[in-house]
């Protein structure tokens, strides 16, 4: 058997986050010798999903500063052990991103045949949390109408507002051609809210609907980006079935995609080593000489790794809560024939929450509610992922959102919070880049929806590894492996 040291590797991939894992998938049918390592003892990096035991050891690692992009992590079991199931009944996602139907990620998973190993669930309604106007009333959740039928049937907005909304939906459909471009381009860098007010006379409430659909973390998304995101959302609607625009991979979101990609890499012959990082690297030499933390010294032509130093202080704060209710009212299909959604999105717009000291929130809080159908928690429980852009009182704001949310639910028994995980995830403005024989991926974005831009970096890394052998048209396009065909498919 060839040992690690005797092999001249074509590429060493360090880290099993989504980008590195997709690269492993992309290389899985090449004859390249791939060594895929991860200093962590789990797969998925910043996109991992954890059982409750794993959460605890991860939190410890974050607290000792060993998880570069994360900080201020803490975990709390509430009400003792009652209510919570056994630790492995949970799979809490660090990256609970939803994936729009139009995303290139999905078409790449299909063309590479990796989709066969993933179960996709529908993301259902997007709602807005409306605080009670006075203490005698309860706060409410208002569903955002995002199809024509929805707009017609909703009672939440006036007839005049409906016309404005209709006009806007129609505009967005072809926003990137003339004459639409003439309308928005002068406002391209101005906030989308201003554009909506000026061109569509939308009141603040309607603006909030539209901003929520953009999932903009600070609510200040500009017109150019905002229109692109709304276009993605609306044109994704109905693509894989009626009534939903986005999907979610069962068992932990992007973590599942990373794992499935690594498995494909392994089937293709890549060697995997967890708990193994790069200790020293001499990139002056060709081949590059690497001393692994396992003590082995290896030689490789190329190295792909992730930049995990956060240069920006900006980031997100997240609160993940497990609650003891199935929150049924959030997961009703609204369109006939639609698959039962497993994820629901709720936005707490700027101003809808106030901190303990009475300050009104200045940026939105987003909540992604996952039913037990996601496999992330046992039946009769749900996982709530709250996210907000980091500010001085973010932690407090997330807690306020968690506390205020139950009152807005209709019909459900008031859910008891069983478990709470909090952390901050830093971001970086660094770009992915190739430097000779070394490729560095930018740290993963912590947006709420999967952003296709990382896919280009993966393809760039693939090109660097394959060099002249790279045939762009064949990128991630594979036939089914022999014996792995689903023979029921054609029936």
């Amino acid at each position: 058997m060839e040992s690690l040291a005797d092999t001249l590797w074509d590429v060493v991939i360090c880290g099993t986050g989504l980008q590195q894992s997709l690269l492993a998938l992309a290389l899985s049918r090449s004859d390249k010798k791939v060594l895929h390592i991860d200093p962590n003892d789990f797969y998925g990096g910043a996109e991992a999903a954890f059982s409750l035991q794993e959460v605890e050891s991860w939190v410890e690692k974050v607290e000792t500063g060993k998880e570069g992009l994360f900080e201020a992590a803490s975990v709390k079991k509430l009400g003792g052990d009652t209510g919570l199931s056994f630790p492995r009944a949970y799979s809490l996602a660090l990256a609970p991103q939803l994936i729009h139907a139009r995303s290139t990620l999905l078409s790449q998973l299909v063309s590479s045949r990796a989709y066969r190993q993933v179960e996709f669930l529908a993301v259902g309604s997007f709602s807005i949390f409306k605080p009670s106007p006075d203490s005698s009333q309860k706060p409410t959740l208002v569903r955002i109408p995002s199809t024509r039928e929805d707009v017609f049937s909703t009672t939440a907005i006036s007839a005049k507002a409906k016309r404005g909304l209709m006009k806007f939906l129609k505009f967005v459909l072809d926003y990137d051609i003339t004459p639409q471009t003439d309308t928005w381009q002068p406002h391209a860098d101005a906030p989308l809210t201003e554009f909506l007010l000026k061109e569509f006379k939308m009141d603040q409430e309607l603006q909030t609907y539209i901003i929520t659909l953009t999932l903009s973390l600070d609510g200040k998304i500009n017109t150019r980006d905002g229109l692109a995101v709304i276009h993605r959302h609306l044109s994704s609607m109905g693509m894989y079935g009626p009534g939903f625009a986005a999907l979610y991979p069962k068992w932990g979101g992007l973590s599942e995609i990373a794992q499935v990609s690594c498995r494909a890499g392994a089937v293709g012959g890549a060697v995997y080593m967890l708990g193994t990082g790069v200790k020293t690297m001499n990139d002056k030499d060709d081949p590059i000489v690497i001393e692994l933390s396992s003590g082995d010294t290896i030689k490789t032509r190329k190295v792909v790794r992730a930049n995990e130093s956060a240069t920006d202080r900006f980031g997100i704060n997240r609160l993940v809560a497990v609650v003891g209710s199935s929150l049924k009212s959030l997961f009703e299909s609204t369109v006939e024939g639609a698959p039962k959604p497993a994820v629901a999105i709720v936005a707490f717009p700027a101003g809808s929450l106030s901190t303990a000291t009475g300050e009104a929130s200045t940026s939105p809080v987003y909540l992604s509610v996952h039913s037990s159908d996601t496999g992330e928690c046992p039946a009769n429980q749900s996982v709530l992922y709250f996210t907000t852009g980091s500010e001085h009182a973010s932690q407090d704001l997330l807690q306020q959102a968690l506390d205020s949310f139950p009152a807005a639910l209709s019909g459900d028994t008031v859910p008891q919070c069983l478990y709470k995980l909090q952390y901050k995830q830093l971001q970086s403005s660094a770009h992915s880049q190739a430097n000779g024989s070394i490729f560095d991926f930018a740290p993963p974005a912590s947006a709420l929806a999967f952003d296709d831009s990382i896919l280009q970096s993966v393809q760039d890394a693939w090109k660097m590894v394959l060099g002249d052998e790279a045939v762009e048209e064949e990128y991630l396009t594979f036939a089914d492996r022999e014996g792995a065909m689903d023979d029921d498919e054609s029936v």
Partner: protein, 231 residues
């Protein structure tokens, strides 16, 4: 396994094979899937994925088989497979005592780390290298009066399997002895309730639910979907 013709409910079961290098994991799969045997099978690199159906009287089980590499350098791979598995086949070579020790390590790791409901079968392979006439159907599983290479007694492995609540079989991938039986026993041991829908900890009850919930990326779709803005 005769097919009655009437469509039976069909469900998939994820199965992972674990065990020391060269104990015959891939050979067992090859026997089960293609009814074939190769005298000099090359070591598995990384992992292999195969599917095979198993017809039970009341239902059809489609095994999605992950055959992992036994070589130590691939050891990091295993968690990726057993994390999702509903069944595991832990294989040792009954002519090699160290392989049973390794098998016990895998069983312990599965009990610690895998899905709680996982069905585990312990399989002692290469029975043809022993003198056992066990089930010697026709050509017989034993090598007749050649020397007996057995180093792990049936009793030892069997009592261990009983203690741990594992299914237990001795097989020969070479003659095919007991191979289908292992997979059939696993198929039968998977609780009906955990099939299809009730797969995971978060499983729900109604049997047709998953199908209705699961979004098919390959299904009919409307490339010009404009429902959102067809106004």
């Amino acid at each position: 396994m005769a097919d009655s013709g009437a469509p039976k409910p069909s469900s998939s079961v994820k199965l992972v094979l674990l065990g020391e290098a060269a104990v015959g994991k891939s050979s067992l799969v090859l026997r089960f899937v293609n009814n074939d045997f190769q005298e000099n099978k090359e070591p598995t690199i990384g992992a292999a994925f195969l599917t095979q159906k198993c017809n039970l009287p009341t239902r059809t089980i489609k095994f999605e088989i992950w055959d992992t590499a036994g070589q130590e350098r691939f050891a990091s791979l295993a968690p990726m497979y057993y994390r999702n598995a509903q069944a595991a086949l832990v294989v040792y070579d009954l002519t090699k005592p160290t392989s049973l020790i390794k098998a016990k390590h895998w069983v312990a790791e599965l009990q610690r780390q895998a899905s709680p409901g996982i069905v585990i079968a312990l399989v002692g392979n290469k029975l043809d290298l022993t003198n056992d006439s066990a089930g010697g159907d026709g050509e017989g599983a034993g090598v007749g009066d050649g020397e007996d290479a057995r180093k792990v007694t049936t009793e030892e492995a069997k009592s261990y399997a009983e203690e741990e609540g594992l299914l237990f079989f001795e097989t020969s991938a070479k003659t095919g002895y007991n191979v289908t039986e292992v997979f059939t026993a696993i198929a039968n041991a998977i609780p009906e309730t955990s099939l299809k829908t009730a797969r995971g900890p978060g499983a729900s009850s109604a049997a047709a639910r998953t199908e209705e919930q699961r979004v098919n990326l390959n299904g009919p779709r409307d490339p010009n979907a404009k429902e959102g803005c067809a106004c």
